[in-house]
Symmetry: C2
């Protein structure tokens, strides 16, 4: 059994988002979000910190040990933007920062602002809680992206020098530290560095970090003893917090800090693919199953508690106190994308799409200027987007995802072109040595109509694998206006259309997109008697600005009919339906006697979850109470 990835993602550089939902998001990302993040990075001192001018006595801002990563992630996002389209001004800014980074690198290759300026004697002394290896990983990712986008290898060389140093420090050889990062990231980044350079030492170092994790004697126990604490001491939930409670191959559940988990599992998938390691892949699949069937919000968000920013227990999915960090949903997209390439199984694409369209892009406002770190499924009106965060991981994470989104749509396999996501785009693909251009037109996610025009450089037989989303019950396939029964062609959630394709062939894929009422597993107690609205890949919510306060007085009927309207302000389709409102008693008392409730008919208006908190501040709810009707 092997664990090779049969699919290869089509690079974002070969895909142009031309129009519509994602092209709009990508444009705002480039024009507004990237400059905004750079502005905040500059004004907080993150960029200039690379000048290493901080001392304990001067007035420069004291660097934090994760500041480097914020800048690297911006650089990576900027690299993708440059890969999408030329921008001399942006490239000059990138070059300037790369120049600063180059000067900040120490003679031995070491690179971290904090541990160079503030606590130089603490290098590698607290892998569990500090973020040196995490920052290094983001450097590697940025370097690989920049080399691919611009051909410039300055940052890649910096990254390799640092990676080479790390390779001399960590490993199983007796003279090396047998450690691994408390915050994963470097594992998947080393694989990118390996792919960018072909240097297999980076792959082996990634494999080492993956496999050393959780071994006994436990590195973090030994390390914490040197800081004067008892082995096993942790401010949170022990070794599960950073997924080091067990060797990764023995792990069965999604645990601990959710972002760390996603980066680890992504790295595991990468190493499984690059080393054809089925055991590692099986571990990924087991953890995946646990996550998506027991520990994920309907929005594709993950992380049920602020305390550990992470997973808790099966079916523990509180709505208002959800953590569902933007970075974690972005991390789900990363991991799902990797899992999808093994077999082309659409269950990974379904989750990828859910997290992307809901819990991830909810992280940035519609104008691209404000961000959510935490993405709850309910708000009493006190949760709002912010311009920036002291811990600023999320803005650049969503920015790099949006800038590289073209790379998530398609894959090629030996004889097959896979279409995973539906976004209006042109793409150019090579399969088996011949080249296929194609144009995809759609108003997705607002409409389920997808039209593809194929333009191969020669007539040839190959397979178009068209995803049938998990949310879709009815779909109609036409090739050159001829209806084709897609059911027999469905395998792993994709319609496999094998034929001899000719220039100008047209495929029409019509996905019925009704409003769906979802319920939660009965063990998710807080969602008992509640439903969530979904249309296509989008989860909807109610906002106070549309529906008045006390959204919990609103009940939706199983029989509710919905109409779809266009909201110009939100640039979104919204749902209008009949529902009920429970009359509240006038009592100001906290716990008055229960009165017989009265209900009146009202109109309710639901908007896509990702679009909430873009207008007047107020309550929001995803899980809406369900009216129990007589025939129910």
């Amino acid at each position: 059994m092997s664990a090779q990835q049969k699919l290869v993602p089509i690079s974002y550089r070969r895909v142009r988002l031309t129009h519509g939902f994602w092209a709009d998001k990508q444009r705002i990302n480039r024009e507004i979000t990237l400059p905004a993040i750079l502005h905040h990075s500059q004004s907080t001192g993150r960029i200039d910190a690379f000048k290493l001018e901080y001392t304990a006595t001067n007035s420069r801002p004291r660097p934090h040990y994760f500041w480097d990563s914020d800048v690297y992630k911006w650089l990576e996002a900027a690299a993708f933007a440059l890969g999408n389209s030329h921008d001399a001004e942006l490239e000059a800014k990138v070059d300037h920062i790369v120049d600063l980074i180059a000067k900040a690198q120490q003679p031995d290759g070491y690179l971290n602002i904090y541990f160079t300026c503030v606590e130089p004697d603490k290098r590698w002394s607290n892998l569990r809680d500090w973020h040196e290896l995490y920052c290094a990983g983001h450097l590697f990712e940025a370097a690989a992206a920049l080399a691919e986008a611009t051909g410039k290898r300055t940052l890649l060389n910096i990254a390799c020098r640092f990676a080479d140093l790390i390779d001399t420090v960590f490993g199983r050889e007796p003279e090396k530290k047998r450690g691994y990062p408390g915050h994963e990231e470097i594992e998947l980044a080393l694989i990118k560095l390996y792919r960018a350079t072909g240097n297999s030492r980076y792959r082996e170092l990634a494999r080492y970090f993956i496999d050393e994790r959780g071994q006994q004697p436990h590195y973090f126990d030994l390390e914490i003893k040197t800081h004067g604490f008892l082995p096993g001491w942790h401010y949170l939930n022990g070794h599960e917090s950073n997924q080091s409670h067990l060797p990764v191959r023995q792990q069965t559940q999604a645990v601990g800090h959710a972002v760390r988990a996603m980066y680890l599992y992504s790295g595991m998938a990468d190493v499984a693919a690059e080393t054809s390691d089925p055991e590692l892949l099986v571990a990924c699949e087991r953890i995946w199953e646990n996550m998506v069937e027991r520990r994920m919000y309907v929005t594709g968000g993950i992380g049920s508690t602020q305390r550990s920013e992470g997973f808790t227990r099966d079916y523990d999915l509180p709505n208002r106190l959800a953590y569902a960090e933007t970075c974690a949903a972005v991390g789900v997209v990363f991991w799902a994308h990797r899992m999808l390439q093994f077999e082309g199984n659409s269950r990974y694409a379904d989750i990828l799409e859910t997290s992307l369209y809901n819990g991830a892009i909810s992280g940035v406002s519609s104008d691209g200027r404000r961000f959510f770190y935490v993405n709850p499924l309910e708000s009493d009106g006190t949760h709002h987007r912010q311009d920036w965060f002291d811990c600023a991981c999320c803005p650049a994470n969503i920015a790099r995802l949006l800038a590289s989104l073209g790379g998530y749509l398609y894959s090629s396999a030996e004889q097959t072109l896979y279409i995973h996501l539906f976004a209006e785009s042109n793409a150019s693909v090579e399969i088996n040595g011949f080249s296929i251009d194609f144009v995809l037109q759609t108003d997705y996610p607002w409409s389920g109509q997808i039209d593809i025009t194929i333009d191969p450089d020669r007539e040839a037989e190959w397979t178009l694998a068209l995803r049938k989303p998990g949310w879709c019950e009815q779909a109609l396939l036409r090739v050159n206006d001829q209806v084709i029964d897609s059911l027999p062609l469905l395998r792993n959630g994709y319609v496999h259309l094998a034929r001899c394709w000719r220039r100008g062939d047209r495929v029409s894929w019509s996905l019925e997109m009704p409003v769906q009422h979802l319920q939660a597993h009965p063990r998710v107690g807080n969602n008992a008697g509640r439903i969530a609205l979904r249309r296509g890949p989008l989860v909807y919510c109610l906002e106070q600005t549309d529906n008045g306060p006390l959204l919990h007085e609103i009940l939706i009927d199983a029989a509710s009919q919905w109409t779809i309207e266009n909201d110009m302000e939100l640039n979104a389709r919204v749902l209008m339906g009949e529902s009920w409102r429970e009359n509240s008693p006038d009592s100001k008392r906290l716990y008055p006697p229960a009165l017989a409730a009265e209900y009146r008919r009202i109109r309710v208006r639901a908007i896509p979850y990702f679009a909430w908190d873009n207008r007047m501040a107020g309550e929001m709810v995803v899980w809406i109470r369900k009216m129990l009707s007589a025939n129910d």
Copy 2:
């Protein structure tokens, strides 16, 4: 305007709990809980730590900076037990520990194990986060209790020497530190010390600590700078965490760590009373109103989040993620008892009773051996009582409350005997120079029938003020079998029965005690469409062991009829009623399409909230879904 307390609590030493609910609890507390706490205190090294033998190099357990307080609280509880009944064995144990404490006191009067053995150079250096003054307060409380119960003044003298030292260290004089404790407690304790000794310097020191709190420049800002952090830095929510965000007279809301808050507000009420300070009392009333109408669970628990162990926002009262620390509910009882003495207004007694019968005594198991630190209103089956906690504040807190419970039942005023709580007891009271013995017989809280036989030493006119609980809608008053219309006599929630009382006069107070369905204010979103069951002062809950798993599938009808049964195992009355169970779909999926629900009639069994998790482990729910019936 003055703020004197018109009422004086009748000491627990003049009240004997003879039989029934509280006598049982008190007996278990004395026979099981007090020895258990002592055992754990010994086995963890807390007692022997007073020998000051710990060094960094030997193998003795490293003391924690709040260990002292655990021992003092046990001593206080033991003192109350001795005050209730002679127990030579217990007294010998107490004497032994007092002896250890005496030897641990430093020549200058200082007394704290941690800052004597572990970090002697850190005395008073971090008032915000460490607990020196908090521990001192518990010493003072124990000392006052022990002197009252046994007449032995050794611990009182130790306490006074330490208080005298503290008085030289803290204050507004230029040579003193202008600090105050991060964890309040010493304020109310200094008032106890003042009352035990008559030394007004202790009262003035309490007043100083109360009034200095939150003044600018902010002491904790100055202090944290000396530790190398920025002013205002706090690991949680800034100065609100310890109620120092504003001078206390300007505070309007119950904020921050809930136990700290209760101890502060109790101290404020004490200082208001002892210094006739109406402004301070008004501040207490304002904060009280905010707490009970917006920030309290139906169980009388407080603290909506584990993060700060404290208050959050108005109407933010999640059930499963409630913190509702046992100590905090005990603190509500303390504060309410103080507020009650000002005017004899039963709104304070109502909350006292609610917190006592639900959120406080839920903190100890029915066998007295196991404890809750956190008292959620819902559990998925993973929350359980424990034998002990590293941070062991709760066991001794509930123990000292139970041991002194007799002191909460009655008060005297100039011409009035107040009956606040109903517990089978004998008491002996002095009013206006004459003495009244009386016997109260009741099966409360299981029954609302209360019978009082008065035995004054002479015939005289005075007033019996009998509380009509807030939960009670119908009550029947009889004096010597003659029905009396109590409505015109009702003032501040007490029936004021003024007459010439004779030996053998009998008062019968019959409180109707139906099962009540409560709802929550509509802004408590998680309780929308749910009801809580209350009978008398007791809130009820459903447990899995009685009702099967998936308690959220159970719906209660507005029209549900309840019968009351005796449960021998729980030693409690339980509620039996008709309800509905929603059939769950078989799907294992996390978010399947919503199906039409089906309901079947079931019998449901509810037990008192305080009694949960005493049998087989499983789910628990207080807020039960409400069936929406056609006529509803």
